[in-house]
């Protein structure tokens, strides 16, 4: 077995993984490497090692998604949230801005894969649109607001401690849209943020634009599913656990077929 040739092939597979829009189905060499990764465990280990050396993690290699890679901490390939949220105005609180952008990304994934089953099912393709993402978060905010209103005590945010304000209040307060002089979408509105997030995900090969309806409608790619399922959801969930926020979901997900005979 030629080690040099193997190393080159492994590195090539990793480099294919860095081009998210390239798919095994469209490239014979790529498809061959993907097949080899699945069959040859030595090659698999070599590929994982090459990736690790570059500061990458191989999340999954499959015919549908290709090689799905993720950057490890402090890797050169890492996209920092700070740089993503940098555009925002200076006078706004930095953290608020970051949280709003993060919530938008979370909501985009939640809408792309509404039930746990959709995230697990490799053949599932979700659909998201700017209007829906904003609508879903606002709806959740409304429910939380109703709940807060029902609570006995006054839980309006304390004026002296803005960092203790709950995230949903910040989202609900931000306008959905705002008119600008030249008729474009203002970037610091929630719809502006959602539309930016979806376009960003599309550039990363995670979403594919279907049409421009509802502010832009996209479908999810198998790559996005792997990324969310194998890494993002778990690491965010761990953070929540570390904060002591324990939420138990039942196996069937939170959406059940509802039986209603009133209508």
């Amino acid at each position: 077995m030629s080690t040099t040739g193997d190393a080159e092939a492994a590195a090539r597979l990793v480099s294919f993984g860095m081009r998210p829009k390239q798919l095994p189905g469209r490239d014979v060499v790529y498809a061959d490497l993907v097949r080899r990764y699945g069959e040859d465990s030595a090659f698999k280990q070599l590929t994982n090692a090459v990736a690790a050396g570059l500061g990458l993690m191989v999340l999954d290699v499959s015919t549908q998604a290709g090689a799905v890679l993720a950057a490890t901490d402090e890797s050169v390939f890492e996209i920092k949230m700070d740089s993503y949220a940098r555009q925002s105005k200076i006078r706004e609180r930095r953290e608020t801005e970051k949280v709003l952008h993060g919530l938008v990304h979370l909501a985009a994934a939640a809408l792309g894969f509404p039930r746990p089953d959709d995230l697990a099912n490799d053949t599932y393709i979700g659909r998201v649109s700017v209007e829906q993402v904003d609508g879903v978060v606002r709806e959740a905010c409304r429910i939380l607001d109703e709940r807060a209103a029902k609570a006995e005590e006054n839980n309006d945010p304390l004026s002296g401690a803005p960092e203790l304000e709950q995230a949903w209040r910040a989202y609900a307060r931000r306008p959905a849209a705002a008119a600008t002089k030249d008729g474009r979408l203002a970037s610091d509105t929630t719809r502006g943020m959602v539309s930016r997030a979806l376009r960003f995900l599309a550039e990363q090969g995670f979403l594919v634009q279907v049409n421009g309806e509802q502010g832009g409608t996209y479908r999810t790619s198998p790559r996005y599913q792997v990324q969310v399922r194998e890494l993002a959801a778990d690491s965010a969930f761990e953070e929540l656990l570390a904060l002591g926020v324990v939420s138990v979901g039942d196996g069937a997900g939170t959406l059940r077929p509802s039986v209603s005979d009133t209508l």
Partner: protein
């Protein structure tokens, strides 16, 4: 293919808060306990007055009017017009009226349309001013009601409340008067918020249904007594109520469209639809009766003014009826909406492997966290889901094609470009232009240097004030800003030299400086001159 927009709603996930070990909260609680012990009696005393929920409600209601007062307070500072003649609060209320009237189920008011409708009203306040100014006043009021220029486009007032432990706390109340929303076609339009409607109608914290009935009864009374001006007011109030009622139902239907289980369709919604339909039925009856009455009043009225008022009233009630019709057709379609959404949202197979419920286990708990705590989970999620950023390596061939690439289309998103409201600076010129010109002439000393005493005497003859300016400029040139003069491109600079002579002057004391103009030789940037 099953393409859904349904999302699971939170069920078991929203009670994790209690067990969360939040350091900041714990610390505050500890402080609160310390504070509470010695002031128990005081707490009882203030608790009686301040813990009252009604007080907080009244403070919030009061806060809603603040932006309107603020407009009148700031109008004098506008630099583009003398806006003190305009009654800004009136215009603002009128703006809210216009937007409320233009609101229906799908859309709201268009910015330009609202400003256009405002113009006659503004023009009536200052007929002598130009239409351009009226337009600008209208825009200014509208922008301020939206609060353009802040990221949240809303208002915040701080109010105090006493919690269960008797500790006074300052809380923030966020509210909006007009909100901008995007229509399906991407256009941005305006809607009035509940807060604004409540401020406007002046019926705070009341039940929609009963207020509506009260308004109708009042209207009938007024008409039977022939007081048409009041009747018009009551009819308008009834119309705002109708709009508000429609808003409540619209919100419920919207929620259903997103998640059927967010709204209780088992008991609550059917009851609500029933009551809404019977409500509309009774309104139809009442309004048709009123319409018949005032139409008769209009036709029989002898007095021209009264006839006109009655005619206006007929219009308003007619509008009410058409709004009810619209509401009714929506109500009738509501059941079908629910069934369609249920079909669309309920299809779900058994899970294949254990994964996370993104909405219920991640999004909702994160929304509930305080901002400071929410940063970590969203950052982790973002890093996990954002993918890689592959650093670009420049290559010659890529560079050439990069340079030949046509200019990119402009970004669809744009940051807000706020129009700063500038207060004109006060004039700080102590000396007039005339005096400065005289001083320039006196201090133009290209050939022979002169004594300050002589210059002062000469200046005093022209203008007593001028002597002071000359003295100040002489003093300033004792340490001349040569570098600044070079930078500005001046060809000479004034120099003052102290040769030890005492100044003999009734007004000023010190050295009798020798003054001369030094030419700046630009060749080697060194000042050379006659002195």
């Amino acid at each position: 293919m099953n393409l859904k927009v349904a999302h699971p709603s939170p069920t078991t996930t929203l009670n994790g808060d209690a067990s969360r070990p939040n350091l900041m909260v714990t610390r505050r609680c500890a402080r609160r306990r310390r504070l509470t012990l010695p002031v128990v009696r005081d707490a009882e005393l203030i608790g009686g007055g301040l813990a009252d929920e009604g007080l907080a409600r009244r403070l919030k209601a009061l806060a809603c009017t603040a932006p309107l007062h603020d407009l009148d307070a700031r109008k004098a500072k506008l630099d583009w017009a003398d806006a003190t003649v305009y009654q800004m609060a009136e215009i603002a209320l009128h703006t809210i009226d216009q937007v409320t009237i233009a609101m229906d189920f799908d859309t709201g008011a268009d910015h330009h349309e609202v400003v256009r409708r405002l113009q006659p009203f503004i023009a009536a306040q200052a007929p002598g001013r130009k239409p351009d100014e009226h337009l600008r006043v209208g825009r200014w009021v509208l922008d301020n009601l939206i609060n353009v220029g802040t990221a949240d486009r809303g208002f915040r007032r701080v109010y105090g409340s006493v919690d269960a432990n008797g500790v006074y706390q300052r809380r923030a109340f966020d509210f909006k008067l007009l909100v901008e929303l995007a229509a399906p076609d991407g256009e941005v339009y305006l809607r009035t918020t509940d807060e604004a409607i409540n401020v406007l109608v002046g019926a705070l914290d009341t039940d929609v249904e009963s207020a509506h009935i009260a308004a109708e009864v009042k209207l009938e009374n007024l008409i039977s007594r022939g007081r048409l001006a009041d009747a018009k007011l009551a009819a308008e109030q009834a119309r705002y109520r109708t709009v508000q009622y429609g808003e409540t139902l619209r919100a419920k239907l919207d929620a259903t469209r997103r998640d059927v289980r967010a709204v209780d369709w088992d008991i609550e919604m059917p009851e609500m639809l029933d009551s809404a339909l019977s409500h509309i039925e009774s309104r139809f009856r009442a309004e048709n009766a009123i319409l018949k009455n005032i139409t008769a009043a209009r036709d029989e009225a002898e007095d021209v003014d009264r006839k006109r008022r009655a005619a206006e009233l007929v219009d308003i009630v007619g509008d009410c009826i058409s709004r009810h019709t619209q509401l009714q057709s929506r109500l009738q379609a509501a059941g079908a909406t629910f069934r369609a959404e249920q079909d669309r949202q309920q299809f779900s197979g058994p899970p294949q492997r254990a994964t996370i419920d993104l909405f219920g286990q991640l999004l909702v708990p994160t929304l509930e966290l305080p901002i400071a705590d929410a940063v970590a989970p969203v950052e982790k999620f973002f890093q996990g889901s954002a993918g890689l950023s592959v650093p670009a390596v420049p290559s010659l061939s890529a560079l050439v094609s990069l340079l030949l690439r046509p200019a990119p289309e402009r970004d669809k998103l744009v940051g807000e470009v706020p129009e700063p409201e500038l207060v004109p600076s006060e004039t700080l010129d102590y000396y007039s232009d005339e005096q400065w010109r005289h001083a320039d002439e006196l201090l133009d000393l290209p050939e022979v240097p002169r004594r300050l005493s002589g210059l002062l005497a000469e200046a005093r003859e022209i203008d007593p004030q001028l002597a002071r300016l000359i003295a100040l400029r002489a003093l300033h040139s004792y340490s001349p800003g040569v570098a600044a003069a070079v930078r500005q491109g001046d060809d000479r600079a004034l120099l003052a030299i102290d040769d030890g002579t005492e100044l003999d002057d009734p007004e000023f004391g010190g050295a009798d400086l020798l003054l001369a103009s030094a030419f700046i030789d630009r060749g080697d940037s060194e000042p050379g001159g006659t002195s």
